[in-house]
Amino acid sequence: MSSSQLIDHDALAALREVMDEDFIQLIETFVSDSHAKINTMQRALAAGQSDELRRAAHSLKGSSSNIGASGLMNTCRQIEERAAASELRGLEHLLVDLQSEFSQVKQQLEIYC
């Protein structure tokens, strides 16, 4: 996956304009928020709690889309859909993908800070 697809820089620029001085806080919030959500997802998958998993994926999907991280959003949607269908088998792979995508997005975002 190329870095250009990880983040929609135009969207992020627009967001920076809206947020003004709060932009950095937004990025930090997104990063910590996403960390927490990914941890929640991993715990939920291990415990077989598909509903918990679905909620966290749904939430991260929303904030990823807002921040312009469309790759992250797509992965979250897949996880959310499978969790909603209670098809948890093989989801570990998607979570690993999610984890690595997030690390890359985080790197990209640090440019803005």
């Binding site: 809206v18 997104f30 929303g62 904030s63 889309s65 807002n66």
Partner: protein, 565 residues
């Protein structure tokens, strides 16, 4: 009115990132933001701060967006609080759930600043409009309440005025809508001192209070004059004059007035502008009494004609009066009931007693169940032995103040001839006699002819033959004027003597003057030309007898009258 800068937006989202973005977008537009993390907080903050618009995330801990929306809508009552669901849910059932919970719109992620701002503005406009509408609705409700209150008061006043009437005779049936007065329809009925029944059905142009206002003078005049024994033509002329002077141009009263004489089995009908009244004959035929006058309140008193048509009604025959309400009642197709259906209803009538109810039922059936037939006014008068007690001779014989027999002598002295006309005064004395009011016109003619003869030919010694040619006519009146002013001696003595009987009375009018008199014998029909212009033929025709006493300066007219004349 609130302006855009004062819009307060409640944002409820449990994802910090999303909430931060929303807050920033909303604040950027200059609106106030209240920000919460879950549905429960959203409901609490809503109660506390009453924001204008609510942005709700659908999936939240504690209380989700759907339940929060329901509670907020319930708290808002009839006030419009737009709720926009923030959602990345895309499946139709989820969106339906948002709408069912009271959501007004959606905003999907990623949030678009332009779209969100457009939605906030649009919903705020809608909310302002809704608020204006509610205010106006409440205002209209208050006005309406006020209006109904006024109508109630006006109706009470009107009922008080009309309650003086005699509306509970078995010969009279009527149907008037409870708010008829506000449709412009008015009905008054009362019995005369002689025991006649007088009924007036009026239909004022226009509706509402203006029409009711015209009904007031009509009713008071009607009841006042009927009770005092005035004739129908006098009453109509008086009402017409009152309405003409009171009502603005364009507001008038179509009316039918009826004077029912139950002893003579006659009705007089005057119809000015209402649909033809029907006389339902015993054989089943219909005789129509069409309008041949202008409505009341249009013509000046001098042009007004109060002549009524006289009809003989046998016992059991009925007279129907109506305003145009029945004719113009419409069915659901907008078709009018019309005259043909009325005639058909009469043609199909089986029992005369039921005609009134049959006609009303036909109209109601035509208009349709549940529809208002507020404008319908119907009156039925039955010719039957009357149950109305005359307040005339029989019953009022017990009245202590009543004069059974009286006379008065009135003498006019020389200095008064030029400046005083005794006729109005004498006439007003005569009109105090119950029942004699109906004869005021005749009495006036008799008195004025006899008085002017006594003055002109007796006291002033004018020769009536002078009036034969135009020059003489002028000369006659010049002489009359100068001699009246110059006269130094002489008199006219008027004696009025009246006796009251059960059915009426007898009035004797004696006029005596100071003149030398004239040759009474020459007053024979073959030579009466000499006395042309003295109006004696007219007086003779009006009175029961007219006698001259030699030397011809005293004349005595006898006038017998009956209560029901």
């Amino acid at each position: 009115m609130l302006d855009d800068s004062a819009i307060t937006v409640l944002v409820a989202d449990d994802t910090d990132t999303d909430r931060l973005i929303l807050e920033a977008i909303v604040r950027k537009e200059g609106h106030n933001v209240i920000s919460v993390r879950d549905g429960r907080e959203a409901v609490e903050e809503f109660e506390k701060c009453r924001p204008d618009i609510v942005l709700l995330d659908a999936l939240m801990p504690e209380l989700d967006g759907f339940e929060a929306a329901k509670q907020i809508k319930a708290l808002a009552g009839e006030e419009l609080i737009p709720i926009i669901f923030l959602t990345s849910l895309t499946d139709t059932p989820s969106l339906v759930k948002c709408l069912e919970a009271g959501g007004d719109d959606f905003l999907s992620k990623p949030y678009n600043r332009v779209i969100l701002q457009a939605k906030i503005r649009a919903f705020y406009r809608m909310r302002t409009m809704n608020r204006t509408m509610l205010e106006q609705r409440d205002q209209i409700a208050r006005h309406n309440e006020h209006f109904l209150q006024e109508q109630t008061v006006a109706k009470q006043v009107f009922d008080n005025i009309t309650s003086g009437g005699n509306l509970n005779s078995s010969c009279l049936r009527y149907f008037m809508s409870p708010l008829a007065v506000f449709n412009g329809d008015v009905m008054v009925a009362a019995s005369t001192p002689a025991g006649n029944l007088m009924v007036l059905l009026g239909d004022f142009t226009g509706h509402g209070l203006p029409a009711a206002i015209g009904a007031m003078p009509l009713a008071t005049t009607f009841y006042g004059m009927v009770g005092k024994g005035y004739s129908m033509s006098d009453i109509l002329a008086e009402i017409n004059g009152k309405l003409k002077s009171i009502l603005p141009v364009g507001l008038f009263c179509c009316a039918t007035m009826v004077d029912v004489n139950f002893r003579k089995n006659t009705v007089r009908v005057w119809n000015g502008g209402l649909p033809a009244a029907y006389i339902y004959r015993l054989g089943g035929s219909i005789e129509q009494v069409k309008s041949n006058h202008l409505p009341l309140g249009i013509l000046a008193t001098k042009d007004f004609k109060a002549d009524a048509a006289l009809f003989q009604l046998h016992e059991g025959e009925r007279l129907y009066l109506w305003s145009d309400g029945i004719h113009e009642s419409r069915n659901s197709d907008g078709e009018m009931f019309g005259e043909e259906r009325i005639l058909a209803a009469f043609a199909r009538n089986e029992s005369r007693q039921c005609m009134f109810d049959e006609l009303l039922a036909k109209v109601k059936g035509f208009v349709g169940e549940g529809e208002k037939s507020d404008d319908v006014s119907l009156i039925e008068i039955l010719m039957a032995p009357s149950d109305i007690k005359p307040i005339g001779p029989t019953s009022s014989a017990h009245e202590p103040s009543r004069l059974a027999e009286w006379s008065l002598l009135f003498e006019v002295k020389p200095s008064s001839f030029a400046i005083f006309d005794p006729l109005p005064m004498l006439l007003s004395v005569l009109l105090e006699v119950p029942g004699l009011r109906n004869h005021s016109g005749t009495l006036y003619t008799v008195l004025s002819e006899l008085y002017s003869n006594a003055l002109e030919h007796g006291v002033l010694q004018l020769d009536s033959t002078m009036k034969a040619d135009p020059q003489g006519f002028d000369r006659y009146y010049q002489l009359r004027k100068s001699r009246t002013e110059e006269v130094k001696e002489g008199y006219i003595r008027i004696t009025l003597a009246h006796q009251t009987f059960a059915e009426g009375g007898c009035l004797q009018v004696t006029v005596e003057d100071s003149g030398p008199g004239f040759d009474v014998d020459r007053l024979k029909p073959e030579v009466s030309n000499d006395y042309s212009g003295r109006g004696l033929t007219l007086v003779e025709s009006l009175c029961d007898s007219l006698e001259y006493h030699k030397p011809g300066n005293r004349v005595c007219a006898t006038y017998r009258w009956r209560m029901d004349d």
